[in-house]
Symmetry: C2
Subunit: 247 residues, 2 copies
DNA sequence: AGAGCTTCTTGATCCACGTCAATGTGGCAA
DNA sequence: TTGCCACATTGACGTGGATCAAGAAGCTCT
């Protein structure tokens, strides 16, 4: 809980080697907010005074839907799946959190969704009450957080258009374009973008089945709108963005 | 722009009699925020210092998607359709605003959607810049607005579940239950709820066609989950909520 | 290297919902 | 009253994507 401003550091750079059952990884302990968090240096330094950094391995849970919300999180590395479950097991992925993203900014009493790690994730955690007290003392930071939450609302509304009024192929194309844009903010523009989530996750995000996602990805590749990088299906190239956008 | 706290008043209570092309209705001029706005008296009184009240008839536009956002609105009476259009004309309704609801709280540069009046609407308008300056001077009000925006985000995420993972019948049921709940906040719980929007609007909100909406409303009525009030199709009864919820 | 996973792909078939078309209905203007 | 028009309903038919089923291709553990 000591002061630290700016980037983060870790003791080792590969994935955590420790047991899957451990939530905290002492070896890759990080400090401070993600540099991607779109905050000014003074804001970073204020928040970092409260930061408690930790690391979880892939498939571990950060928090679960309907549980009392205990913390606010800022992702510093890795990606996180955010989803809601219906009583009968149907699942809707409501988003994916990438480095720089905050979780729990709504300050609601309970979590609106579950969150678990798609890859090894390092994050920076704040006690909800400390966080709340701090933003009460720092109005311009609250203003910033409000604008982040508003941005998320517009993303959610865009997703409503995608879910309600686009065909399966358009959904996939929009998803890939949107993800490319988000990765560009994190690690710079690139034709190759990582898909840390499974086809099932993509389907649950877009209101499609795994089979449909798989078929359409293959089709987009056949039609040369994308390239599924051969060494694994979790990496794709978007050589010509406009080609994909016009589908 | 004078001070006024609490409820609103109008000069006549029926729909506006003046020309359809007029945006402001001098006859039913209102003052102040909606009493449904879930604000404390002191917050109401602060905001009302900036309030500029007005009235529009059904089908008139409040603002349009992508235009520079000039105002923040609080609906005091009537209902408003919020929607996004795709270039090819497909439409996604992203929500319906009822009395008490704010529009434009995100303080974004441009409107994320279009808004037009489903019925005669009275609303309370704030200049965006005045509003922004005022919340900067009033942190606890900003905090309140942030929590309203966050609530909208959770509604949007719930809508994502509905759009992505529910059947047509479940969509209609969820829509009616949600609308009933919202009307209850405005005018108290009642088995009869108004549907100020067309079947097309409902379809565009739920990702369905008019025909499907119509068919399923009829079916729900046949199965006695709802009653379409005979004197018009824009009013339904939900005699047994649990009956509707289990569909 | 092989066993046992999970994930991904591909094909055949099905059906919920969309599309197209016809008709009904209520409000309003002339 | 009549015609018009936007909205709603209903039926017949078509189809995009779901479902079911079978492999293939990667991981991880031993």
């Amino acid at each position: 809980m000591e002061a630290f401003s700016g980037s983060f550091e870790r003791k080792h750079s590969g994935p955590c080697a420790n047991s899957k059952s451990s939530v905290d990884c002492e070896h890759c302990r990080v400090r401070g907010l993600s540099v991607c968090a779109a905050l000014e240096p003074d804001e970073l330094s204020i928040l970092n005074r409260l930061a408690h950094a930790f690391c979880v391995n892939a498939k571990q849970t950060l928090f679960e839907q309907d549980e009392p919300a205990g913390n606010v999180y800022n992702i510093t590395a890795g990606s996180v799946r955010l989803y809601k479950l219906l009583p009968d097991g149907r699942r809707q992925v409501v988003g994916f959190a990438l480095p720089g993203d905050f979780l729990g900014l709504s300050m609601a009493e309970r979590n609106a969704f579950s969150a678990d790690a798609l890859t090894t994730v390092t994050a920076c955690q704040f006690n909800r009450q400390d966080f709340s007290d701090m933003i009460d003392r720092t109005p311009h930071l609250l203003r910033r957080l409000h604008s982040m939450a508003s941005h998320e609302l517009t993303l959610a509304q865009d997703q409503m258009v995608i879910l309600g009024r686009r065909t399966a192929e358009e959904k996939i194309a929009a998803f890939l374009i949107g993800l490319r844009k988000r990765w560009a903010k994190v690690s710079g523009a690139s034709v190759t973008i990582p898909l840390p989530m499974t086809r099932q996750d993509i389907g649950d995000f877009l209101g499609l089945t795994v089979e449909t996602v798989s078929r359409l990805m293959t089709r987009l590749a056949r039609e040369k709108a994308i390239v599924i990088v051969p060494d694994g299906v979790r990496l794709i190239d978007i050589p010509r963005l406009e080609r994909l956008a016009e589908t």
